[in-house]
């Protein structure tokens, strides 16, 4: 390479990059760090799960308690993700499309659940709905259970996954501006038509990105759910809580078998996320590459 390059280009190259040995050292260091801190833990999950072979692995997953944990995790995600999806779109619409007082403050409030410890979040719901909480006696009178029951798990999950869709859509919709929507409205489209046919196609990959991360967190949440769940086997255990119980009972293979389901979920999430990112970039590039229109055709 350097043999054919003439001295002047080589000097220009040297200005913006490093000597080959520096490059290889840095790449090697970065990859070694990632292998040690990310790849190794991921590999360990599957190795530990399959330590005693496929039969033990499948036996760990076939337990009725494991099944009920899987069902509860899916149920929680099926409720929590759409709730936060609708909220995320509504919040992004009013924040990205309009100017109003207190907008920056509202945006900060939406980010709040990300900075609150999941354990504190769980405690907050105990204080509202628990036996001695604000609504505790009213709920007891009407025989409604929220804490140590499924509704509490869903609420805690909604809290910790609250900002995902909104914070993905807000910058995206701000960058796209209002021109296309205004044109649609002026041409006679209704608000809903404008949203479905103009806004939604523009934000769909951002939406997929937000939803997939929201879902991953909803299915994997541990701290907040742990506080409100009560750990009743077969009833209020999600997969992460099931993993914890098995692990503490030294049922290592069964614990890692259940954990491997969540690790697979994480890998699928990363793949879909990458596709959404890539498609979103393509869409943005295609929009930017449109030739300027001629005044008269």
């Amino acid at each position: 390479m350097s043999a054919v390059a003439n001295p002047s280009t080589r000097r220009a190259q040297a200005g913006t990059t490093e000597a080959p040995w520096v490059r290889f050292t840095l790449i090697g260091l970065a990859l070694a760090f990632l292998a040690l801190f990310l790849l190794l833990p991921l590999a360990a999950v599957f190795t530990e799960a399959l330590r005693k072979g496929w039969d033990a692995y499948l036996a760990g997953l076939a337990e009725p308690d494991a099944w009920s944990a899987i069902r509860l995790t899916l149920l929680t995600a099926v409720i929590a993700v759409p709730l936060n999806l609708v909220f995320g779109v509504a919040a992004a619409w009013c924040i990205a499309k309009y100017e109003f007082k207190g907008k920056a403050f509202l945006t900060t409030l939406i980010d709040l659940p990300f900075s609150i410890s999941p354990v504190v979040a769980g405690l907050m719901y105990v204080l509202v709905f628990g036996a001695n909480g604000w609504f505790g006696s009213w709920l007891a009178e009407h025989d409604i259970k929220i804490i140590f029951a499924v509704p509490g798990i869903v609420l805690a999950t909604v809290f910790v996954t609250f900002p995902f869709v909104a914070r993905e859509l807000i910058p995206l919709m701000q960058a796209q501006g209002n021109d296309e929507e205004q044109a649609a409205i002026v041409l006679g489209a209704s608000g809903w038509q404008t949203f479905w046919h103009v806004t939604l196609p523009n934000i769909k990959w951002g939406l997929v990105y937000g939803v997939i991360l929201c879902n991953a967190r909803a299915m994997g949440e541990f701290g907040a759910v742990s506080v409100v769940s009560g750990h009743i086997r077969g009833q209020t255990n999600t997969i992460p809580l099931h993993v914890e119980i098995l692990y503490n009972e030294y049922q290592s293979v069964a614990a890692f078998a259940a954990a491997s389901l969540l690790a697979l979920l994480a890998l699928v999430t990363l793949v879909i996320k990458s596709i959404a990112e890539w498609q979103g970039e393509q869409q943005a590039k295609a929009a930017a590459a449109l030739p300027p229109e001629r005044p008269s055709a």
């Binding site: 200005g15 990310l38 360990a44 509504a90 204080l127 509202v128 994480a266």
Partner: protein, 289 residues
């Protein structure tokens, strides 16, 4: 000017044009309603409960020796982990933006694993690796170094959890940085190291600090990955969120609330710091705040 106002000002002169897009009232109303139910009312319940304690009671709950030890561990370990993430996050972002190597796209996507992998899974997996008989732990055991069931394990789990933050805040800034500045510095006689410290590093400092603050904030509140590996010995390896859980399990709701309010206070501070850093970053990049 006159012609334009004839066209647009046929009706009474308006200060502001009417909003064309519908749905402002509906979406803002729903946003505030949902925000109140899910976030604000529970938050208020926490603060209200803490006011049911007298000041001496509150102070006793949040300053007991065991609780103080947990702050020291939580903040200390989070700080060390965020520092490690600062250095290696910058290295990984740099390598991903500036160099080419096979499998780069896969490595790039893989960096987000800690965001996608449930914390409990990370916790038991790191514990299995770092325990005295684990893949990694067995090489440290002969030297008398324990990686799991003590504060070392807490730091390692928090490094895992916070890894993507610095990478993802620095990466876009490095991608947008202008190579012309580096070329100019080089042509004026700067060495590559001088270019890095005097040209590149200042331009990415706001992003670096933002990523650092995010990793630190996340680490302070982290629970799932830490409790498996920490060993959870009082005064030694017990993190603050675990203190809250412990108090709850002993039906000391008021005490749990007091400690939670302290954590919440630091969450708010970190949120303000991160917001300020992001505003600085936007100004730095020449974008409107």
């Amino acid at each position: 000017m006159g012609a334009a106002s004839d066209l647009t000002g046929a009706a009474a002169p308006r200060r502001r044009p009417k909003r064309v897009l519908p749905g402002f009232g509906l979406t803002l109303g729903y946003t505030l309603f949902y925000l109140s139910i899910i976030v604000l009312i529970p938050l208020l319940a926490l603060l209200a409960k803490s006011f049911s304690l007298s000041w001496p009671q509150f102070w006793e709950a949040v300053s007991a020796p065991r609780v103080l030890a947990s702050y020291k561990l939580t903040f200390g370990a989070s700080f060390i982990a965020a520092c490690v993430n600062l250095v290696f996050g910058l290295l990984i972002a740099w390598v991903l933006v500036r160099y080419q190597f096979p499998g780069k796209k896969i490595v790039d996507a893989f960096v987000d694993l800690p965001f996608a992998l449930p914390t409990a899974v990370a916790g038991i997996s790191l514990t299995a690796l770092l325990a005295g008989n684990g893949w990694v732990g067995q090489y440290f055991e002969p030297f008398g170094i324990q990686l799991a069931f003590n504060p070392n394990g807490v730091v390692i789990a928090l490094i895992f959890i916070g890894l993507p933050f610095v990478v993802r805040t620095v990466q876009p800034v490095l991608e947008d940085s202008e190579k012309e500045l580096e070329e100019a510095a080089t042509s004026l006689g700067a060495t590559r190291w001088q270019v890095f410290t005097k040209v590149i590093l200042p331009s990415i400092t706001p992003a670096l600090l933002t990523g650092f603050a995010m990793a630190f904030a996340r680490a302070i509140g982290e629970y799932g990955s830490v409790i498996f590996i920490a060993g959870n010995m009082p005064m030694v390896s017990e993190i603050t969120p675990l203190i809250i859980i412990g108090k709850l399990e002993q039906y000391d709701t008021a005490g749990a609330t007091a400690v939670a309010v302290v954590m919440l206070f630091f969450s708010f501070i970190m949120l303000l710091v991160i917001n300020a850093l992001q505003a600085w970053q936007r100004r730095h990049a020449g974008m409107p705040a």
